[in-house]
């Protein structure tokens, strides 16, 4: 069930909203949470019914760990490391099995040449990746670590209600592709769920949802055929093919993922809940460091708070710090998929963050002026765009083909010769919006008739413009 599919828009969402607000009339917050939990399980069950127990199990592991921590804390003690290990290792263990088992078998076989790894590899590769597992596992880990830290600091004096926790872990707007919400952000809202509906917030949610839908359907999906023609082919592209295909992917992944995140924020608002904004116009960043503060913000902050800082952050020496940074960015790359191209993509970004740090020191030392903002934004945009080649290419060899083609500037469009003028327009509009348009979350929302009709029009264009079944890119991670 996709957010832009008929079943979701015309059946699932209206029925869920109806059930949710019907409980409100009877002043029943528990009923609302139960309606949300049930709807989320149905939503997930639409993808794969047999993975629903896995989702509940993945939510149960951190819940047991949290209850253990809370039990200790409420009895005046400090929790040991075991509940923390249960929550973290239990969750990450499931992620390792379902997402990385085949990958690691290949790695171990490559290193040791032990036949056993080679024999089990096909079986491990055939394990079906449960939808959204990378997202809800990270949420579970964060929830356990946060509670453990609070308990160790003596700041924990309440218990997490089971219904609230399971509703948080399975909350369907952000279940399958984020934003990665912290338990501390959503559970207090669920606990204090308003019995009266907040129509102003819901109106804003509808607008944000419409914008997200339009980003996905009217921009990202029209870039997709250009991208596929470049990366899914085995033919050698021309330089223009590669440049255009790379630009198209740069825009596609942004509008696809930020569109999904906007829809998630909008949907949550329809239920009276706030979840964090995931994208803050990342292509306007003046450096790679800034880019990661604007792109997939909740993931960047997760890696910062639960990996980078615990490993030592920037408190160690330059060399150790560089190693930590590269390890974290490499892990962030691997989080996206069990493939070396993703790891390389992560390391590529880590390297440019390091270069930026060196540049900042160099500038400070020699008292140099900061470069013009246009130059720094353009340079960052190009670096990020080139990095996406590794992210999208199905293999290293294809990525290298694309890079090699840049060296040959002759020849026009070959693989992308079939691109229509409307697609050119979509590319230009998408580029202009990515670089210059205000972020929808920064807009001053006004519930005027004009905004309402504009929202209705956007919603219509998006619903009528749905091309084909085209799942969100981040669903695969």
């Amino acid at each position: 069930m996709l957010f832009f599919g008929d079943i979701f828009l015309f059946v699932f969402l209206p029925l869920t909203l109806l059930a949710f607000y019907a409980f409100g009339r009877r002043s029943n917050a528990t009923g609302r949470k139960f309606a949300l939990l049930l709807a989320s399980l149905i939503f997930y069950g639409f993808w794969s019914l047999r993975h629903v127990p896995l989702l509940l199990g993945a939510a149960a592991i951190p819940f047991i760990a949290i209850r253990w921590i809370e039990h200790k804390a409420c009895n005046g003690g400090k929790p040991g490391v075991f509940p923390l290990l249960l929550g973290v290792v239990g969750n990450l263990g499931l992620l390792m099995v379902f997402k990385y088992a085949g990958f690691w078998a290949d790695v171990f076989f490559g290193l040791s040449r032990i036949r056993f790894f080679d024999e089990v590899s096909p079986g491990l590769h055939s394990i079906v990746l449960p939808l959204g597992i990378s997202f809800y596992m990270l949420q579970g880990v964060a929830a356990v670590v946060d509670r453990w830290r609070a308990a160790r600091a003596g700041e924990l004096n309440d218990r997490t209600p089971a219904l609230d926790f399971f509703t948080f872990m399975t909350f369907f707007p952000q279940l399958v592709a984020g934003p990665i919400v912290r338990a501390g952000e959503l559970i207090p809202q669920l606990s204090a769920l308003p019995v009266e509906s907040n129509s102003q917030r819901a109106a804003r949610g509808l607008t944000i949802f419409s914008v997200g839908l339009a980003k996905k359907v009217l921009l990202a999906d029209y870039c997709a055929p250009i991208v596929n023609a470049l990366f899914d082919s085995s033919a050698m592209p021309t330089a223009l093919d590669s440049a255009l295909g790379t630009l198209a992917y740069t825009l596609q992944i942004y509008f696809d993922f930020s569109g999904y995140s906007d829809m998630a924020v909008g949907l949550a608002a329809l239920f009276g809940l706030d979840i964090p904004v995931n994208f803050r116009s990342p292509y306007r960043s003046g450096s790679i460091r800034e880019f990661w503060r604007r792109w997939h913000v909740t993931l960047s902050f997760w890696f910062r708070d639960y990996l980078y800082i615990p490993l030592g952050g920037s408190r160690r020496g330059i060399l150790i710090n560089a190693l930590i940074l590269l390890s974290v960015t490499g892990a962030a790359g691997l989080w996206h998929g069990a493939s070396w191209t993703f790891v390389f993509w992560g390391l590529y970004h880590g390297l440019f963050i390091l270069i930026h740090r060196v540049w900042l020191r160099f500038r400070k030392k020699f008292n140099l002026r900061a470069p013009n903002v246009v130059i720094s934004v353009a340079a960052t945009f190009i670096i990020v765009s080139l990095g996406w080649i590794f992210f999208r290419a199905p293999s290293f060899s294809r990525a290298i083909d694309v890079f090699r083609s840049f060296a040959h500037l002759d020849g026009g469009l070959m693989l992308l010769a079939g691109i229509s003028w409307i697609q050119w327009c979509v590319l230009f509009v998408a580029l202009a919006l990515a670089l210059f348009a205000p972020n929808v979350h920064d807009l001053q929302f006004r519930p005027t008739p004009r905004w309402a009709y504009a929202t209705g029009l956007l919603l219509t264009c998006s619903i009528a413009g749905v091309m084909v079944y085209s799942p969100f890119i981040y669903f695969q991670f």
């Binding site: 109106a203 509808l206 607008t207 029209y222 997709a224 070959m414 010769a417 409307i422 009709y453």
Partner: protein
């Protein structure tokens, strides 16, 4: 309260607009011949798609169909009893394309297919350079043509292709206009990546099937929209077509000769053309000479041959069986597939 009014207004506006689009669509597209897409997607070159189809094919290959988009909807699996098969028809092919694919097929599958079906049309035999540059973008296919191509040919060809940009631009305007009217893309892809026009192809060979003539109103509407574009396209394609390309005939000769040596049963048929297109080809190309030369070549190798190129002489494919003056409708493709399978059954192996 303001928020609630806002939501009502937005949803009512959306509902009314969707109802309006649906109503217009039901008027202009009553038979759902166009899929629900606003903008035509970038066309992945069919040569690349078919090269990949070829690479994925597992031997033994029962039958292979080569030809243009006119035969792209034929499914060889339904036409040759008991055999598997693949359709390697591509958009706007030249004999070079077919030759390169044939050579690549033999290299990948030295055993050669059991049956070779060639659906030829006059456009493939233009004496000038090829129409589509796609072949040059695929090293595996390009290398099979090293003796027929040169940098000069390639440059000529790229110049020639620019003319087609105009066609593409005009086509895009048409799509936009269709979208504004609630209609969508004209070109789609089936689950195997094979492009088709209009409804999804079935390629079912059902001997004895007859076509049902749709209401005249529908035929007229369809032709008003598509005829002008296709005639214009053909006029460009047939420019300077005053003789049959000798190199192209040589390539056909070589394919048939090699198929014979490999003990592959071959069939050649000239693809059906709409009466208006027959008239256009007669006025701009040596159509009759081409028919005679292909027939003579087939007789030389004792290959089963059938000429369906003049739909005026093929009663089961009347002008209204064409979807757009160029391609047959899906129902007509099924009828054609049925007739061809009967023809194949009547023509045993040439040895």
């Amino acid at each position: 309260m303001e928020g609630r009014r806002f939501i009502y207004r937005a949803l009512i506006a959306c509902g009314l607009l969707l109802a309006l689009i649906g109503a217009i669509n039901s008027l202009v597209n009553p038979y759902s011949e166009y899929s629900w897409q606003i903008i035509i997607p970038a066309k992945v070159p069919t040569r690349i798609i078919k090269k990949e189809v070829l690479e994925k094919a597992e031997p033994p290959i029962g039958a292979v169909i080569f030809g243009s988009s006119r035969v792209a909807e034929l499914d060889p699996r339904n036409m040759i009893p008991g055999g598997d098969g693949i359709n390697l028809a591509i958009y706007n092919p030249s004999m070079e394309d077919i030759y390169a694919m044939w050579k690549y097929l033999l290299e990948l599958h030295p055993g050669a297919p059991d049956n070779l079906i060639l659906g030829l049309d006059i456009g493939m035999f233009h004496p000038g350079p090829m129409m589509e540059a796609g072949l040059y973008a695929i090293p595996e296919l390009r290398s099979r043509l090293s003796w027929t191509t040169s940098e000069k040919t390639r440059l000529e060809y790229i110049r020639f292709r620019r003319l087609f940009r105009l066609y593409a631009l005009e086509h895009s305007f048409r799509i936009l206009k269709s979208a504004a009217l609630g209609r969508r893309s004209l070109i789609n892809f089936d689950e195997r990546g094979i492009p088709y026009i209009g409804r999804a192809p079935t390629g079912k060979a059902e001997p004895g099937d007859k076509l049902v003539k749709p209401p005249q109103k529908i035929i007229t509407k369809r032709f008003k929209e598509l005829r002008k574009r296709l005639v214009w396209f053909r006029e460009i394609k047939y420019r300077d077509f005053d003789e049959i390309g000798t190199k192209k005939m040589k390539l056909l000769d070589e394919i048939l000769s090699e198929a014979r040596n490999k003990n592959t049963r071959s069939f050649v048929f000239l693809t059906p053309m709409h009466p208006e297109m027959v008239q256009l080809a007669e006025s701009m190309t040596p159509l009759d000479r081409w028919r005679r030369e292909v027939k003579a070549l087939c007789e030389k190798y004792k290959i089963a041959f059938i000429d369906l190129s003049d739909s005026r002489e093929v009663p089961y494919l009347p002008s209204w069986a064409f979807l757009d003056a160029e391609h047959l409708s899906s129902d007509a493709v099924n009828v054609l597939a049925g007739k061809l399978s009967e023809f194949f059954a009547k023509n045993p192996r040439h040895d």
